[in-house]
């Protein structure tokens, strides 16, 4: 089904999110929609699915103008969207999530459909598990399978690879190509150029809500980048390896539950000043590792020794870890680290340690304004955290970080961010903070890990399968162990 946008505009109050955007996505093709964070890509797609209303313009399906006032109507036309943030029901099971919004079918039929689709795409999903125990990537998988099960004709993917691992990506991409070859129209929203180049036959670039470029394959990257950013962002060379100090974090015979497989037989020593990347398939143990170090979960067996001080068990652990200047920034910013409906200013007054009863509004306002200036956050002190874009939320989190932090734990720090925001975050982490600060982060992007860290730790099914200095290993070797291929014994 051909999808045609004609002169779409969308205003949020006085803010123009989209101005006069027209584009056509043809049946049987994958059409890329790229642009910076906040360029209007998601808004345009949400208008197509009826999730948001448009201010003006029209949408044509196969040349016929249609009214798409809500997602229900859109799905009757066969339009479905995979949202960037999982749009699902965490306490409900995988199967229940899969069945919501699909035409009525018996439990057995749905069960069978889920199983068949999982096998076809190489996903590993337990139908009876509550979704809240799954990773973001796995939650996206369920939704994708559901949309395919609904036999939709137009599939919108908003940053589909944000939460998934390279191996899953390799299963997903051919599947998407196959779906397009079968006649589906796919709109792919992304800011990862490699992915777009890999998949799409046509690309449209949005910048500040306006269409700046439209082209068909083959793509000329510099041109696309100029259209996206106005200039080509530099990808600096690999950062220098830092000097390291005494050990600060020791994992001793750790056995812990969490994620899919937990974390087993984990012995590690991490020194001051190291920058460590945690690689692995989604849910292989990286998040458990980070949460153990942050004291958010306690190991079933073994000890976490932080700054030569064993962490206590239970709720005290995280308080102790914070006293020792350990900071943790989770992947899910709004759910786990920011207060969605509290203003930026109030985030700063919450951080204040003094004055339980009295807070100076001018004081905290000044602090917020300073942070907005230094961290170039797009927003005002009175904006709510949920109104910021992903990149700006991450900047806000960094600005809230204690300057004296000695160990910073980050779970997928550039999740959902465009290249520029990501580079900004890393520049801040590596250059603005003291070089004694230890940084441990997980990321599904192998490039990011190889680029920014000095040492890489690879997880597979709850075990550490590789622990090496970055210069001594290679992209291919890491990718192999991540997917479970062991080097054959010599």
């Amino acid at each position: 089904m051909d999808v045609e946008f004609q002169h779409i505009s969308k205003n949020f109050g006085s803010v123009k999110a989209l101005t006069d955007v027209s584009l056509t996505a043809r049946s049987g093709t994958i059409h890329g929609l790229i642009g910076e964070n906040g360029a209007g890509k998601s808004t345009l797609m949400k208008i197509l699915t009826g999730y948001q209303s448009k201010s003006s313009g029209s949408i044509l399906l196969d040349g016929v103008e249609v009214q798409l006032n809500n997602p229900g109507q859109a799905s009757e036309f066969g339009i479905g969207m995979l949202y960037q943030e999982p749009m699902d029901f965490p306490p409900l099971t995988v199967l229940e999530n899969f069945s919501l919004g699909t035409p009525h079918q018996s439990r057995q039929e749905l069960h069978f459909a889920l199983k068949t689709l999982s096998i076809r795409f190489g996903f590993d999903l337990n139908p009876d598990r509550p979704v809240e125990l799954l990773t973001v990537g796995e939650r996206q998988q369920i939704e994708l399978l559901r949309l395919i099960h609904c036999s939709i004709k137009v599939l919108v993917l908003d940053e589909p690879t944000t939460g998934i691992s390279p191996a899953q990506k390799e299963a997903l991409f051919p599947a998407l190509k196959q779906l397009a070859a079968d006649g589906m129209t796919i709109l792919l929203v992304s800011h990862k150029l490699e992915e777009v180049a890999n998949l799409c036959s046509e690309v449209t670039v949005l910048r500040h809500g306006k269409l700046t470029h439209h082209t068909t394959a083959p793509f000329h990257f510099p041109k696309l980048l100029t259209a996206m950013f106005g200039f080509v962002p530099k990808r600096s060379d690999r950062s220098d390896t830092r000097d390291t100090g005494p050990p600060i974090l020791i994992f001793k015979d750790i056995e812990a539950s969490g994620e899919r497989q937990g974390l087993h037989r984990c012995n590690l020593t991490i020194a001051e000043g190291e920058v460590i990347g945690l690689a692995g398939l989604d849910g292989a143990g990286q998040s458990t590792f980070l949460r153990l170090a942050a004291g958010l979960i306690s190991p079933d067996q073994g000890k976490v020794i932080l700054f030569s001080d064993p962490l206590p068990y239970g709720a005290k652990a995280s308080i102790r870890a914070q006293e020792l200047h350990t900071a943790f920034i989770p992947a899910d910013r709004l759910e786990e680290s920011l207060f969605a409906r509290i203003s930026l200013r109030d985030h700063f007054s919450l951080r204040e340690e003094h004055g339980m009863f009295w807070q100076s509004r001018t004081e905290t306002r000044k602090r917020a304004e300073e942070a907005i200036a230094t961290f170039s956050i797009k927003g005002t002190p009175e904006d709510l955290a949920e109104d910021l874009s992903g990149g700006n939320q991450q900047r806000l989190l960094l600005s809230l970080l204690n300057r004296n932090s000695r160990l910073i734990l980050l779970e997928n720090p550039t999740r959902g961010l465009d290249i520029q925001s990501g580079q900004w975050i890393w520049q801040h982490l590596r250059d603005e903070l003291s070089p004694d600060t230890t940084i441990i982060f997980s990321s599904p992007e192998l490039d990011e890990i190889l680029h920014y860290c000095d040492r890489i730790i690879v997880f597979h099914d709850g075990l550490i399968v590789l622990d090496s200095a970055v210069p001594e290993t290679s992209h291919d070797a890491i990718a192999a162990v991540m997917t479970g291929i062991r080097e054959s014994a010599p």
């Binding site: 699915t49 809500n70 997602p71 749009m87 029901f89």
Partner: protein, 327 residues
């Protein structure tokens, strides 16, 4: 009285006393599962009890009485639903104010019918009554409301756990934005849930004035029951079976209080009348500690633990009390 209160008698009175409470608490569960707190429960129960009694007396028909009770309950549901779902007003404020309004309205409108005779639902003998042993004869001779309450527990449990409509309703209570994204209409589903729930609340109110505590007056005897119903939904962890068990536990505490009073004449009677409330709180604390381990872990590996978790762990619907605004 405890002395001559035999076990079958005790069970029979617990069943009878819990039936209206079960219906009321189930009605509230229905609404809360969709994400809307109907805080007008206490007033709604009285208002429905009054309406049911008045209509039953005027028409001399119990059926019309129950129907009128249900409709009166639904009327409060319309107000709570419209104000909170469509006008996005605070569910707590609307419900609370409405609760007080309904109570006073019930006393005012019901005043002419205070302490007058009216139709009462009698205990009905089962068709195979004669073939039962005498203890079962005592237990199973109950007003129809008891059977209705037990039937509703099963129906609502099935509805939530196995039906597509129930799943849609629960999904709205968990994450209305995601329900909307999947083509459902959260406002409509919530409104239906609130109306259905409020109808049940009204039936529960009618069960008081037409069966358990027949007649109308000030006080009627159903005062405070709405608040207990609200507490029971939390006590029962939004699970219909546990909610019903909670109602029975409360009824048991009430009934045994009366019996114990005779057994220990030295203790002031107020102690026994108040006892059910603190005992409920103790039960909650007990439950908290017995399940705290699996709660911390978030999930458990053992099968038994999983079942225990399902039985005792309670988590409110995520969207409870928040009004959803479409983007």
């Amino acid at each position: 009285m405890m002395g001559d209160l035999s076990l079958p008698m005790l069970i029979a009175s617990v069943l009878a006393a819990s039936a209206p409470l079960i219906i009321i608490a189930l009605g509230e569960t229905l609404a809360e599962k969709s994400g809307v707190i109907n805080l007008s429960l206490d007033g709604a129960v009285l208002f429905a009890a009054m309406a049911a009694f008045v209509v039953a007396r005027e028409t001399d028909s119990l059926l019309f009485g129950f129907f009128a009770g249900g409709c009166a309950g639904m009327l409060t549901g319309v107000i709570v639903g419209y104000f909170s779902i469509y006008l996005h007003l605070s569910q707590v404020a609307v419900g609370f104010a409405l609760s007080l309004l309904c109570r006073d309205l019930a006393y005012f409108l019901g005043n002419p019918y205070s302490r007058v005779q009216g139709p009462t639902m009698l205990n009905s003998k089962l068709p195979f009554y004669d073939s039962l042993p005498s203890s079962l004869q005592i237990i199973l001779t109950q007003p129809l409301t008891v059977w209705l309450a037990l039937l509703l527990v099963a129906v609502i449990y099935y509805f939530f756990s196995f039906s597509k409509a129930g799943l849609c309703l629960r999904s709205v209570g968990e994450n209305p934005a995601a329900s909307f994204a999947r083509g459902l209409n959260p406002a409509k589903i919530q409104m239906l849930a609130v109306l259905g729930g409020a109808f049940l609340v009204g039936i529960g109110g009618a069960a008081y004035s037409l069966s358990l505590k027949p007649g109308w007056g000030r006080p009627q005897g159903a005062e405070g029951i709405g608040w207990i119903g609200l507490a029971l939904v939390i006590f029962g962890g939004w699970n219909p079976i546990r909610v019903a068990l909670g109602a029975m536990l409360f009824a048991f505490l009430q009934v045994s209080g009366i019996g114990l009073q005779d057994l220990f004449p030295g203790i002031p009677s107020q102690v026994f009348q108040t006892a059910p409330f603190p005992l409920m709180i103790f039960t909650l604390i007990f439950m908290h500690y017995s399940t705290s381990r699996s709660r911390k872990q978030g999930y458990s590996s053992g099968r038994l633990q999983r079942i225990a978790g399902k039985l005792f762990m309670s988590r409110a619907p995520k969207g409870l009390g928040q009004s959803y605004r479409q983007e």
